[in-house]
């Protein structure tokens, strides 16, 4: 607890980051990479065919894309960083030091991306007459730089699941080109292209702008595009998940369905198959220029595609389980070696900041509460998502103590408790007391009563 950490009431840490991150992924992948690549491609085709109408359509699509990318995409990208800065200051402080140079180069890449995108957007009309080729070159340069920034980010994200050699040698190259780097880069890029195709299809289908003939041509292009990019993205996803160590990947069902639905794994497969089928059907309808069918299918296809994005990000974030930086830091920002030290020296004596006691919480137990927030607060809340009182409802006091001592061993995605045995008891007593209020409700009915077959 070198830094004060802010705990988001209700939503909790993970969901707060996820909300910002999912919006960012949808826009950065779907718009900044996918849709913009398609717009440049359309311009390319238009110039080659001398098709002014197609160029108009591409230009017409660019305006909302640029506004959304710069106003929401860039802001949510910085927003993820803003969010983790206060939710996991020690984690981000450490990550920035491992990846200082990629991050710094990313700054240059982002700046270049904007510096190319702005004239591409503002000067299209003016360059159209005499400098059409140069304008197109700007467009393709943008796509290349956007790919570079995805390249830089993938190294950092992959590291958080599979740091591999870095744990031993602490070399940036090992950290960056980690085992999931290439499959993740491929998945993000191809997934972005497919998603961009779906967004573009939606815009073209519901826009009044293009004439029927042109709309048909573009639908055909986009249908094929989504099918091809989607199939390749699925292949990349398969490579990605095969590169993830089994220790992590075995938690995939739980990661998505949580303890509420973990026993119904078929829901996950059904959802995935449904998403693939509906997206493919929408793309096929577009390929066959069936406007009505494509219009009916594109909305559910987009919703399900967003679901796939959420599923992927949630899995990736969750399955690394107890670690924020595997081999170095637990999810609760305690470095592994420091955790060992804290088990002997005590966590509270080493803490620069105590988490503040929320008002109205009985009984007032500042030490127990501080230990809970520091150890468990990154995933569990009191009174919000993943409420610890629901998790412990019905347990006896000594069994809460046992679970605190055995977290890491009992549930493979929970970090170890970083504190002395005395502190473990303090926290267990506090948790037992606050979850005792839930005992009359009882999350699970006692066994033997189901089906109402009692006297």
């Amino acid at each position: 607890m070198l830094f004060p950490t802010f705990y988001v009431p209700g939503l909790g840490q993970g969901m707060s980051i996820a909300l910002v991150a999912v919006v960012h992924v949808l826009i950065s992948h779907g718009f900044a990479i996918g849709l913009l690549t398609l717009i440049v491609l359309m311009e390319h085709l238009a110039l080659r065919r001398g098709d002014g109408e197609l160029e108009d359509l591409a230009r017409h699509l660019l305006k909302p894309a640029v506004i959304i990318v710069t106003a929401v995409g860039a802001v949510t990208g910085a927003g993820i960083w803003f969010t983790v800065s206060v939710l996991a200051p020690q984690g981000i402080g450490s990550m920035l030091r491992v990846f200082f140079w990629p991050w710094f180069i990313e700054w240059i890449a982002f700046t270049l991306e904007v510096l190319v995108l702005l004239p591409y957007y503002f000067l299209w009309e003016r360059m159209r007459a005499k400098h059409a080729g140069l304008h197109l070159a700007l467009g393709w340069s943008y796509v290349a730089i956007a790919f570079c920034s995805a390249f830089l980010i993938s190294g950092i994200l992959g590291f958080m699941l599979t740091p591999d050699g870095w744990v031993q040698n602490q070399r940036l190259v090992s950290a960056f080109f980690n085992p999931t780097f290439w499959p993740q880069l491929a998945l993000r890029f191809l997934g972005g292209l497919a998603l961009g195709g779906l967004f573009c299809l939606g815009m073209v289908l519901f826009s009044r702008k293009p004439a029927a003939e042109l709309r048909g041509q573009v639908m055909r292009l986009l249908g094929g595009w989504v099918l091809a990019a989607g199939a390749l993205a699925a292949l990349a996803a398969w490579f990605y998940f095969s590169a993830v160590p089994r220790t992590y990947s075995v938690h995939k069902v739980f990661a998505v369905l949580t303890s509420r639905l973990s026993q119904e794994a078929w829901l996950l497969w059904l959802g995935n198959i449904l998403a693939v089928v509906v997206v493919a059907a929408a793309a096929a309808a577009a390929l066959a220029r069936l406007k009505l069918a494509a219009r009916l299918l594109i909305i559910p296809a987009l919703i399900l595609a967003v679901g796939l994005v959420i599923e992927f990000e949630r899995s990736r974030e969750f399955i690394r389980g107890p670690y924020l930086m595997p081999g170095y830091m637990y999810a609760n920002q305690v470095p592994l070696a420091r955790g060992e030290l804290l088990k002997r020296r005590g966590m509270l004596s080493q803490a620069a900041w105590y988490a503040a006691q929320p008002p109205g919480l009985e009984p007032r137990a500042p030490a127990g509460h501080a230990l809970f927030m520091a150890n468990c607060g990154v995933c569990h809340s009191i009174g919000g998502l993943n409420d610890i009182r629901d998790r412990l409802a019905g347990r006896t006091q000594p069994s809460v103590g046992v679970m605190v001592r055995r977290t890491e061993q009992m549930v493979p995605f929970m970090p170890a408790f970083s504190g002395t045995p005395d502190e473990a008891l303090t926290m267990a007593a506090y948790l037992y007391e606050i979850s005792g209020q839930r005992r009359s409700i009882d999350a699970a009915p006692p066994i033997g009563r189901e089906g109402g077959r009692h006297e």
Binding site: T70, L118, Q170, V250, S259, A265, F413, H454
Partner: protein, 523 residues
């Protein structure tokens, strides 16, 4: 870098070089921030102006001004990446501490930025909306936009006042009026600079030589300069105790340049002011650089010692942490090698510490529990019933729910437990039938209170924590059943019945065995 036990001690290069990089990248970022803010102010102000004066003002000049906002804001945002990166590495403790203490506002930045950018850019690129709607979105966007620097200046102000952290953490920013005054002046100074720089930018790039626009913008900038002088003096007043020679020198250069600018603006003959402003504006880069230098010197004086002290403390901790590095790595490798997928691994890690490796209920944590863990080697139950116990846990006991594992894993766990302990096989019949008549009487009079007349839990029993098991689905080996009847089950309402004749107790074992039913799919 071999700093694996404390990455916060790792630095990419020297502090001096990082400060230099911070200065350069921040100046670039701030320049576009000022232009962006100023552009929005001017656009909204001159829209209101032209609307109130009946659109006479050169056919909505504000359209042209606001259109460029998208570009300026995009650059302001991306250029902010480098200074944020460097300050979080160079002065991580002061910066991240201040951000966390002001977290709700800091997180609010995301909402403010999206609101501001979407409102203003949609207006800037889809102009012909109804004037009232235009005014609403313009004011909404501008308000959100102007709130953004309020948050950043507050975070930096707090970062530069480490002695106030504890009090602000406990009582909020309002508890430090001096700090609030300094922040307010700092914030207003940014707004004034934005008005001035935005004015200068559009003076050169958006007026297209129009005298009318030059005239309006000159007036705008004169007001901005005067505002800056007043706020700047107050801001300096809030910093008197912190001034060093370097800071005084930088502020003096900046102030002198500003004075020349004011002089040129007010020199006799206001008719020629526009021309003079063109010259005066060349002073703006001097003012920006010198004021930003003063800012950075101040920041260095305030936060560098704090960061250094914390790093020194971390250095001393380094020795303490070193011995645990190997232990931690071994733990991590062991975790990586353990795949919680098969029944054997899950039993060994998630069950054995209570139920014991041998299933006899004697795991290392068993002694800590008031209700002893069940002896699994004695359990004989329907598999579907066991699945429910494992998935849902037993309220009122130490047995937690295990839906942290998906169904396939729990089934494999049960399979493993069945192979080792035969938990899902039918309970064998006892060798002695005992006194069946006495047992029936005792069961009906006593046991049925909780267990129900037929072994299914009674309404009363179902309210117990832990509730008794359903004897039609859950049984024990005869010896174990006899022992539980004789000695009771510690920590539960199941009391010892040692006073009953042995034949009656064996009779109860038989009776209960007779209640057991194989499940739908065998056992």
């Amino acid at each position: 870098m071999n700093n694996l036990h404390d990455l916060l001690l790792a630095k990419p290069f020297s502090d001096g070089a990082m400060e230099l990089l911070l200065f350069g990248s921040f100046a670039l970022h701030l320049l576009f921030v000022l232009l962006m803010l100023g552009t929005a102010m001017i656009a909204v102000f001159f829209f209101a102006h032209s609307w109130l004066t009946g659109y006479s003002f050169e056919l909505r000049w504000d359209k042209r001004v606001l259109r460029i906002h998208l570009a300026l804001k995009s650059l302001a945002v991306v250029l902010g990446v480098a200074p944020l990166l460097i300050i979080q590495v160079l002065w991580s403790v002061p910066f991240l501490t201040a951000a966390a203490l002001l977290a709700p506002y800091w997180l609010g930045l995301i909402v403010l930025m999206i609101t501001a950018f979407l409102s203003l850019d949609t207006l800037g690129h889809k102009m012909d909306v109804h004037p009232v709607r235009h005014l609403i979105f313009g004011v909404l966007g501008l308000t959100a936009l102007l709130a953004i620097p309020a948050v950043f200046t507050a975070v930096l102000t707090l970062a530069e006042n480490p002695d106030k952290w504890a009090r602000v953490a406990a009582q909020g920013l309002g508890s430090e009026p001096g700090l609030v005054f300094h922040w307010l002046m700092r914030y207003l100074h940014i707004l004034g600079a934005a008005a001035l720089f935005g004015g200068a930018f559009h003076f050169f790039f958006s007026t297209k030589g129009s005298e009318d626009r030059h005239y309006h913008l000159s007036n705008w900038m004169v007001v901005a300069v005067l505002f800056q002088v007043v706020v700047g003096v107050l801001l300096l007043g809030s910093l008197l105790d912190r001034l060093t020679p370097a800071i005084i020198a930088a502020v003096t250069v900046g102030a002198a340049a500003a004075m020349v600018l004011v002089g040129l603006a007010f020199y006799r003959n206001p008719e020629a002011r526009t021309g003079r402003m063109k010259i005066a504006l060349l002073l703006l880069p001097v003012i920006l650089v010198s004021m930003l230098l003063a800012r950075q010197f101040l920041q260095h004086e305030a936060v560098a010692p704090v960061q250094a002290a914390l790093e020194a403390r971390a250095q001393t901790q380094r020795g303490l942490l070193a011995p645990w590095k190997a232990t931690a790595l071994r733990g991590f490798q062991a975790h990586l090698a353990t795949v919680y997928d098969d029944g054997e691994t899950i039993y060994a890690n998630s069950c054995a510490f209570c139920h014991g490796d041998d299933g006899r209920g004697g795991g290392p944590e068993a002694a800590a529990l008031v209700i002893p863990p069940e002896r699994l080697d004695a359990v004989r139950a329907q598999r579907s019933y066991l699945y429910q116990v494992v998935a849902k846990g037993i309220p009122g006991s130490g047995m937690p729910y295990f839906t942290v594992f998906d169904r396939a894993k729990l089934e494999r766990l049960l399979e493993h437990m069945n192979q080792r302990f035969a938990v899902a096989s039918p309970p064998p019949a006892p060798s002695s039938a005992g006194d069946a008549a006495a047992a029936r009487k005792v069961f009906a009079n006593t046991c049925a209170t909780c267990h129900g007349t037929d072994g299914r839990v009674s309404r009363f029993g179902a309210d117990l924590r832990p509730a008794p098991p359903d004897l039609t689905r859950y049984g024990l080996t005869p010896d174990r059943a006899f022992k539980v009847i004789t000695r009771g089950y510690d920590g539960t309402v199941m009391q010892p019945f040692a006073q009953l004749p042995e034949a009656t107790r064996w009779g109860l074992v038989s009776l209960v065995r007779g209640m057991w039913q194989p499940g739908p799919g065998g056992s």
